[in-house]
């Protein structure tokens, strides 16, 4: 399948997700379960996508583990998006500079 076809499919789905609530849904969802379910979806998805992927993304697993711990700690103490991302990058850069020859 061509790359542009992949991109087009993803765009069609993601645009529908974003625009349909703005154009069609004019009242809050009534089902408490559905609202709760949708509330938790982003956190579960992002958590599942972060670990163990972050450990596998680095040349040495230890660097990924350290990035996860450092990033989570900075985020926990109120670091901004950019700060947290930069912390993870910095930890991996320094550790791999020491460990990878």
């Amino acid at each position: 399948m061509h790359n542009y076809l992949y991109i087009l499919i993803a765009f069609a789905v993601i645009y529908a997700i974003r625009v349909l609530p703005l154009t069609l849904i004019r009242k809050p969802l009534r089902s408490r379960f559905l609202r709760s379910f949708l509330y938790y979806v982003p956190y579960v998805t992002l958590a599942v996508m972060t670990f163990p992927a972050i450990v596998e993304a680095t040349q040495v697993p230890l660097a990924g583990v350290a990035a996860l711990i450092a990033g989570a700690a900075v985020a926990f103490f109120g670091g901004s998006l950019l700060t947290v991302a930069a912390t993870c990058c910095g930890v991996v850069f320094v550790l791999e500079w020491i460990l990878v020859r």
Binding site: Y40, T45, M49, A57, L81
Partner: protein, 240 residues
């Protein structure tokens, strides 16, 4: 006249608030570009994907699926799952849109409901001003697309250490989104911890590890979110 002046300053404020977002996007998009390069996308394809989709996790999943030669239905389903949070954000935004707002504005505002642009738009008091949203889009979206294209272009000439360092930026961004609410709410903290544990377990357990990473993400998200909704139903909140 008064309305036109107000609209113009709303756009300028959107640009101003969009600049820090654009800087962050550029760095993160660069690492996204590295993932796109691994999947075999050209810089132009990455640029177009980022202009159209403006989604970190969603595009990361898309590029992973392209790299794996996934089926069309898999791309559609994974895109639906990884971007489900935008559905929620748009639902929240819809409550802040004035009933008189034209449909054209709704279609344009919807094009860039990202975590950060949504964040600054919803943080503004009163009804949503489309021009504020457009101002933030005008700086953040090009930075996002340019970063992706440059990541694809330059990922190859950077040393491996720099590539894997930038590669974790995206996961850092995910942490920045999930950890603060996990600190505030025990239910979210449990979602994050069990998300980590189950994701790891699913990659190791005999039957589950045969499935693609995308399919595992779908199954774990549906299962754990449903469980969380049953155990910790949300209280009535008009818009949180």
């Amino acid at each position: 006249m008064k309305q036109a002046k107000g609209a113009k300053s709303a756009f300028a404020e959107g640009v101003r608030d969009g600049i820090p977002i654009a800087l962050g996007y550029f760095a993160v998009a660069f690492s996204l570009g590295i993932a796109a390069r691994d999947a075999g996308l050209t810089p132009l394809q990455g640029f177009i994907a980022s202009v159209l989709c403006t989604a970190s996790a969603g595009e990361h999943a898309l590029f992973t699926l392209i790299g794996a030669g996934a089926a069309a239905w898999e791309v559609a389903l994974v895109t639906l799952i990884t971007n489900a949070r935008y559905f929620l954000m748009s639902c929240a935004l819809s409550q802040r849109i004035s009933p008189e707002m034209k449909n054209g504005h709704r279609y344009l505002v919807g094009a860039a409901v990202t975590d950060e642009i949504f964040g600054i738009s919803i943080a503004r008091p009163g009804a949503l001003e489309p021009k504020y949203h457009y101002g933030a889009m005008a700086v953040a979206v090009p930075a996002w697309a340019l970063g992706t294209a440059l990541g694809i272009l330059m990922g190859t000439i950077l040393p491996g250490r720099v590539v894997s360092a930038l590669g974790v930026a995206l996961y850092g961004m995910f942490l920045a989104i999930i950890i603060p609410p996990a600190r505030k709410e025990r239910s979210v903290a449990l979602c994050v911890v069990f998300g980590f544990l189950c994701s790891w377990a699913a990659g190791v357990l005999p039957a589950l590890r045969e499935l693609s990473a995308g399919t595992r993400t779908i199954l774990l998200t549906l299962g754990l979110s449903a469980l969380a909704a049953l155990l910790f139903p949300r209280k009535e909140e008009p818009d949180a």
